[in-house]
């Protein structure tokens, strides 16, 4: 039986029109950056709201010729990927230890981690840098990486612990009976079931690391290219007359995040809502 086509009310169209306008306003700054990246500097200045006349890629050529942007891209990728790999190794194990081995000590550890969520990075950055210098982690990639891992533990533990509650113990018990050590049980049996949770954590953390500014700016050695974000911030002061180059840089920073978002949308949504529900 087919339902008779319901008549669409006029208010439906009004709401749709309002939504389209709002979406345009929200996306406009992103369009603006994308368009400007393909316009000559003269065109950006003369007509900021017009479309590019042709596919003009001189800005990107200049960007790579006049700065060491390639190194910055490699650094950003390196920091994001290496931190994420280590985070995925360390954080779910900790959550597993807390959630599956409940005792007073693990409960205290959980509270201890969560309390860390309140501490703003800006508060402890000066002593942190001093400590990094003592441990020879300052002025190289290791410093930001250990700090990113430490910074991901609170939110990650929260996410994994709430997810682990929904995973039945029977499977793990069966693996244990078959002679798996707790370590094997976790990595071979439980961890694969945590896929969606891992996806959410990797994506939300990865975005934070990719976009981070202050840490690489202050910790990585000066005199060389640092990360994409740091280079762009540097351009703003340095190339005050060459916006075209800076816009080319912003596109290189935005596009990977956009692609990841389009591919893994549901993980963004799941991570944010799970974090808010417990946070």
């Amino acid at each position: 039986m087919r339902k008779a086509q319901k008549k669409v009310k006029p208010s439906t169209f009004v709401l749709f029109a309002v939504t389209v306008i709002l979406a345009f306003l929200f996306l406009y700054p992103v369009f603006f950056a994308l368009m400007s990246a393909f316009k000559s500097n003269g065109d950006i200045l003369k007509s900021p709201i017009s479309f590019p006349k042709s596919l003009y890629i001189q800005n990107f050529k200049d960007l790579f010729a006049q700065s060491d942007f390639m190194t910055a891209i490699i650094h950003s990728l390196f920091l994001t990927v290496v931190s994420e790999v280590l985070i995925v190794f360390i954080v779910p194990m900790a959550a597993y230890g807390i959630e599956r081995r409940q005792s007073r000590a693990t409960a205290l550890t959980y509270t201890y981690f969560l309390a860390g969520m309140m501490i703003p990075f800006h508060l402890y950055m000066f002593p942190l840098f001093k400590e990094m210098k003592m441990l020879h982690l300052f002025g190289n990639m290791a410093g930001p990486i250990v700090s990113y891992i430490a910074g991901s533990i609170a939110f990650g533990t929260l996410l994994y612990c709430s997810f682990l509650k929904g995973i039945p113990l029977e499977i793990e018990e069966a693996a244990m009976i078959d002679g798996c050590t707790p370590f094997q049980t976790f990595w071979k049996v439980t961890f694969p079931l945590l896929g969606p949770c891992t996806g959410s954590m990797v994506i939300l953390n990865g975005l934070g690391i990719w976009n981070d500014y202050l840490m690489p700016y202050l910790v990585l050695p000066s005199g060389k290219a640092k990360t994409i974000t740091v280079e762009i911030a540097g351009f703003v002061g340095q190339y005050t007359a060459r916006w075209d180059i800076v816009f080319a840089g912003t596109v290189i920073s935005i596009v990977p995040a956009l692609i990841i978002f389009c591919m893994f949308q549901k993980y963004f949504v799941k991570g944010i809502t799970a974090g808010a529900a417990k946070g």
Partner: protein
């Protein structure tokens, strides 16, 4: 105390749990807790950040905090920016969530469209808007020109009466999509049966919103409001790229003051004391949030 309880307490040290948790515990302690605790100590010193000898000066930094005009100004700016962001970010995010929930076509597309600004880094978003705000070559003034509203043209970031608000607009644009997702999730958890029942009973859309939706999403509201207040307190990148705290000190917030005195003026002892104040404010806000959430749970 009964015997099982005693047994649980006497249970020998859990080696497995220790092995699983130790790496995270170690890194967390070493790179968050140790520097946090030492920052409490440094806040009582005149440490410059470089020299190895750190001089203990008692409460002098805190005395300066409570008496200096610069801290007072930064506090005022922080409150204005944070409150402005939180109010508008939440109203807009809730409106967007309601719109996305009710729009007939393209739900997923619109949800993504509103979320996309969240993906952009603070530095990049600051740069894009800085150019759009530009007096001679920016989008805002170009649009006003085209509309024949030349009189409204502004030096948007240079006019000290507007600077903080203009920075706030960027942050609201960048943040609203995040809170929208949380509101949307809680809107979608509102049971459809409840709404239909009210519809049958003749409740108008506004009555349904007021009496069913609002109470059910109030938890999300408390969480979002606290989150946006705390995130507002931590804003750094946009200020750095757009105004560097200026013109004068009009956009210098607590975090920016902390950064400037610490790195440009070699007064990291004072900077950490400012950081301690920041932590104090965050703890207070979190406590209030917990109280709110708990009091409502009792009602329900």
């Amino acid at each position: 105390m009964n015997s099982t309880n005693k047994a649980a307490k006497k249970k020998k040290f859990d080696k497995t749990a220790f092995a699983f948790i130790a790496p995270a515990f170690l890194l967390f302690t070493l790179f968050i807790i140790v520097p946090t605790v030492s920052s409490v100590y440094y806040s009582f010193t005149s440490w410059d950040g470089i020299s190895p000898n750190v001089k203990f000066i008692g409460l002098a930094n805190y005395k300066e905090i409570f008496t200096s005009d610069r801290f007072g100004n930064a506090m005022k700016n922080t409150i204005i920016l944070t409150v402005f962001i939180s109010i508008f970010e939440n109203s807009i995010a809730l409106a967007l969530a309601l719109i996305v929930d009710n729009v007939r076509w393209g739900k997923n597309f619109f949800r993504s469209a509103f979320y996309i600004p969240v993906l952009i880094s603070g530095i990049v978003s600051g740069f894009i808007w800085k150019i759009m705000y530009n007096y001679n070559f920016g989008t805002f003034n170009a649009v006003l020109d085209n509309l024949g509203l030349e009189a409204w043209k502004q030096d948007w970031l240079g006019n000290s009466a507007l600077t903080l608000i203009m920075i706030g607009v960027v942050l609201i644009w960048k943040g609203a999509g995040y809170y929208m997702i949380i509101y949307l999730a809680s809107l979608q958890s509102v049971s459809q049966d409840l709404i239909e029942a009210a519809q049958i009973d003749g409740a108008s859309p506004w009555q349904r919103f007021k009496s069913i939706t609002v109470p059910l999403i109030s938890g999300a509201f408390t969480i979002n409001f606290t989150l946006s207040l705390i995130n507002g307190l931590k804003v750094f990148d946009q200020i750095n790229v757009m105004t560097d705290g200026g013109p004068g000190f009009t956009s210098e917030t607590l975090v920016y003051l902390l950064y400037k005195v610490g790195f440009n003026e070699g007064r990291q002892g004072f900077g950490t004391a400012v950081g301690i104040m920041l932590l104090f404010i965050i703890i207070v806000l979190n406590t209030i949030q917990q109280k709110f959430l708990r009091s409502r749970e009792v009602q329900m």
